[in-house]
């Protein structure tokens, strides 16, 4: 009776556990989590912060689920692994022998890089408890500073605004999310942010957080400006939680743990999935990080299948075909969908992102991977609605939709299935106001021709 050890109870870990239980009804499954909670929606903590849903509702599997599926959940921390002996050592004491293990330890916020980052009232936003902590701090605060440019930073700005705080939203660049967005797209979000009464500061670099009696009192910027605040939230990026493999040179890693198409690390009984894993991407051919919920679920499931094979002495049989990285978000009342590779609009920013060892939560490195010279992108804007696609080798390789989401599902299918759009290349290349109609036409043609 094999023992499966899963480190991490997030989207990847739980998805793996569900598959293992289905495929191996008699196996022992232990999930070790640092979290005090049962499985909850990590992306949902933003909606909790915004006051749209209570914390308890985020929990997506109750205790009865763990009982019925005989998933032994331990609220503990794996401190050390010996992959050759297949043993994990727990913080609370004791060791667990396993037949196969999965590292699904996720990614964590990069800590504040400026002086004063350790003051009471300077926070990052990774977990349900972080959200509760921020909500508590927000009750006693009048003004907050949000540092960062990705989805998490935007959600923090929106959430703290919704809780009645005056929000200073600090951007290092001259516009919002410049590695992903075109100037037009950044501008659309900018107007929505300002429309709420949030103070946007561009080219704003924090020099230090100033404290008074250990509490946040202000943020000082390189420009000399001083912003009074009682709360500072920092969301400048996340990086894979690699603490467990740091002392293990036999586990090959780059920015995350490198895995083969079966989600196996360089030690075949040790798998990795989710934010912590670096998986080869079929679009770019590179091992990329995705910090995305749907990717974590699909990787977790694939790992679960292969763990059962390996635990029974077989070769793994379930190659993971990485789909086009996808995310949908609601930012300041605007819907955003990003699919696949849309190229980078800002060479400098993209280079910095590739150089820095982290990216923002809810994003993929694939999105902004630069195109080859044969690729082009086309876009149309109508009011706050943007459609932008990337085209390479006669196929749509990526899409971004801001505002109207009418083409989101069609474009996801066309990208994912690598549908030939070569005959429409000229129409696509023209871009502009015809673009939505051209894409709609391609979709209708594809659907009427597609075999059932």
């Amino acid at each position: 009776m094999p023992h499966y050890l899963i480190v991490g109870n997030g989207a990847a870990g739980l998805s793996a556990a569900e598959i293992v239980r289905k495929r191996d009804p008699s196996g022992r499954v232990t999930i070790v989590t640092r979290e005090p909670h049962l499985f909850y929606s990590r992306p949902g903590i933003a909606y909790y912060l915004m006051g749209q849903v209570p914390a308890g509702q985020l929990v997506s599997r109750d205790a009865a689920f763990y009982r019925e599926h005989r998933l032994n959940l331990r609220h503990d921390t794996v401190e050390r692994l010996e992959p050759e002996r297949q043993v994990a050592f727990l913080k609370a004491g004791g060791a667990l022998s396993y037949d196969v293990a999965l590292l699904a330890t996720g990614a964590g916020a990069v800590p504040p890089p400026f002086p004063g980052g350790d003051l009471h009232g300077v926070v990052t936003f990774d977990s349900l408890d972080d959200a509760t902590h921020i909500i508590r701090l927000a009750r006693r605060a009048r003004a907050a500073v949000v540092v960062g440019g990705g989805i998490t930073a935007m959600e923090l700005a929106e959430g703290l605004h919704a809780r009645g705080l005056h929000v200073h939203f600090l951007q290092r660049r001259e516009r919002l999310w410049s590695s992903l967005f075109t100037p037009e797209e950044s501008g659309i979000i900018d107007r929505h942010v300002r429309g709420l009464g949030i103070d946007l500061h561009y080219q704003a670099e924090v020099v230090e957080v100033v404290g008074r009696r250990g509490q946040v009192a202000a943020v000082r910027l390189q420009s000399g400006a001083r912003l009074a605040c009682q709360l500072v939230t920092v969301a400048i990026g996340v990086r894979p939680n690699l603490a467990l493999v740091r002392e293990l040179p036999q586990i090959t890693r780059d920015r995350g743990i490198l895995v083969n198409p079966y989600l196996q690390s360089s030690v075949p009984t040790l798998f990795a999935a989710g934010d912590v894993a670096q998986v080869t991407d079929r679009w770019t051919g590179q091992a990329q990080l995705d910090i995305l919920w749907p990717s974590a679920i699909h990787e977790g499931r694939a790992a679960g299948h292969n763990m059962v094979d390996v635990a029974h002495g077989r070769a793994p049989t379930f190659p993971y075909e990485k789909g086009s990285p996808f995310n949908a978000a609601l930012l300041f009342g605007l819907h955003l969908t990003v699919i696949g590779q849309i190229g980078s609009s800002d060479r400098r920013e993209r280079q910095e992102q590739q150089d820095a060892a982290y990216l923002s939560r809810g994003a993929s490195n694939v999105w902004t991977t630069p195109f080859s010279s044969h690729a082009f992108s086309a876009w149309d804007r109508h009011g706050p609605n943007v459609v932008r696609v990337g085209v390479e080798g006669g196929r749509l390789v990526g899409a971004l939709l801001l505002g109207n989401q009418g083409l989101a599902d069609p474009l996801r299918v066309l990208v994912e299935r690598e549908v030939d759009v070569g005959p429409y290349a000229v129409d696509l290349l023209r871009g502009g106001s015809d673009l939505p109609a051209v894409l709609r036409h391609i979709w209708d043609e594809y659907r009427s021709a597609a075999p059932p």
Binding site: S41, L330, V413
Partner: protein, 116 residues
């Protein structure tokens, strides 16, 4: 049987986004459905459900909300921050080519005995 074949032809292609369906065109044949890829299991849907359906358990699997208590009020569709939930056909052709039907969503005139 004829009706079923027609419906099959209608719905065998990709699920359509809600905004493609003209208002009222499929009255009585619509049902709340989920898109598994978009669902992040935040539970806002179920939190806003006036009759207490755990909508998330359908949404995360990409299923129709077939709970007979559903009064088709659309609160979950409206509140979902990710566009996971929409109005879709009340009859789905599943991957194994079987029909998934919520009898409560269908007009009385439709007979389904010969469906399988």
């Amino acid at each position: 049987m004829l009706i079923i074949q027609k419906l099959r032809a209608l719905f065998q292609s990709e699920p359509q986004p809600a905004y493609d369906v003209p208002q009222g065109a499929l009255d009585g044949l619509l049902q709340v459905t989920g898109d598994a890829t978009r669902c992040v299991q935040c539970g806002i849907c179920g939190y806003n459900c006036p009759v207490g359906i755990e909508v998330r358990q359908y949404a995360r699997r990409g299923q129709n909300v077939t709970d007979p208590r559903c009064i088709a009020c659309g609160a979950c569709v409206e509140k979902c921050p990710r566009g996971t939930l929409r109005w879709g056909p009340a009859i789905l052709v599943r991957d194994d080519n079987r029909l998934e039907v919520n009898p409560h969503a269908l007009p009385d005139s439709l007979q389904l005995e010969s469906a399988t």
